[in-house]
Amino acid sequence: MSRQDNGHGSLGAYFGVFAALMVLTALTLWAAFQHLGIWNTPVALAIATTKAVMVVLIFMHLRSSPRLTAIVVATSVLFLAFLLLVTASDYLTRTWIPIYFR
């Protein structure tokens, strides 16, 4: 259950992730100026999520952490999703049952 301590192995991973993060940052900057219609935001979020996942897995060592840690991370994402989606669903469904007379 202990976190792995292999010094030389993870060094390469750190620089690799850094390079990838730089590439993805450039990508998101470029994509922001493209006319993708409603896809601009999902693309930006997908890139951001990819970056975040890399930081969590490699920089934050989730890859070599106990399974409980991954459950803790997943729980936070799940409940944040509850907050966002359920709140948004109020606004999105306001007109679904028209009980107010116009």
Binding site: K51, L80, A88, Y91
Partner: protein, 233 residues
């Protein structure tokens, strides 16, 4: 945990000085510290999450105002800051790595580099905030509705909401960075004292987790605040 009580208690008596008395051994202490920090980060996810929720709702409601207002943010400074912060995550990860090796000089070097990069980020933010104050883009009684760069018409009034969220979200993020820099300087002081060895480097690890989290928040803030309207230009 299958060891007999007696062996565990014997082990505790030969314990290193960093072992707190209520833990069976250093392994347990490290496990508990890590779990504690991750759970704390969960609270931070929900903490920032509340503001992200407000952002989502208002952006959907006032899309044009938000896109136009976003284009008024200095993209060069924002992108520069993003690079700086990601680089600081690298130096932080290297500080943790050095901690695991017990290499005191490297620990201090990487921690100080992280402090330098973090301070650069904050310095740039100060510049950005000053720009906004100068251009009356600060919500409140002195707010002046700015011009849309795409259409050269005034933006809708709800642009003020964008700036409210901008200041609240980046302000809270900056506060977390200031606290992070404080923690890093504390680590530097402890490292200079020789506290961190191959056997014990948990505090560096924990502050590392916190610092990476603050980076992740910015990874999301950057596109949502700076990039959302660029495609309209």
């Amino acid at each position: 945990m299958g060891s007999s009580t007696h062996a565990a208690d014997v082990a505790a008596r030969d314990a290193p000085p960093e072992l707190r008395h209520h833990f069976v051994d250093m392994e347990a202490q490290k496990e508990a510290s890590a779990l504690g920090m991750w759970i704390f980060l969960v609270t931070e996810v929900l903490f920032f999450g509340g503001m992200f929720t407000a952002y989502v709702i208002y952006r959907a409601a006032y899309t044009r105002a938000f896109e136009g207002a976003s284009n008024l943010l200095d993209l060069k400074l924002g992108a520069f800051n993003t690079v700086v912060l990601i680089l600081s995550s690298l130096t932080m990860a290297l500080a943790v790595w050095a901690g695991q090796q017990g290499k005191k000089a490297l620990i201090i070097l990487f921690l100080l580099l992280t402090v330098l990069l973090g301070s650069t980020f904050l310095g740039v933010k100060v510049v950005e905030y000053k720009q906004k104050f100068a251009r009356h883009e600060v919500p409140g009684p002195h707010f002046v509705v700015p011009m849309d760069e795409a259409t050269h018409q005034p933006l809708p009034r709800q642009a003020e909401m964008f700036f409210s969220l901008y200041f609240c979200m980046t302000g809270l993020h900056a506060l977390h960075m200031i606290i992070g820099i404080g923690l890093l300087l504390w680590l530097v002081a402890r490292a200079r004292r020789g506290d961190f060895t191959v056997r014990y480097n948990t505090p560096v690890d924990m502050v590392g987790l916190y610092w990476h989290f603050v980076d992740i928040v910015w990874i999301f803030l950057f596109p949502l605040l700076y990039l959302l309207g660029r495609h309209t230009l």
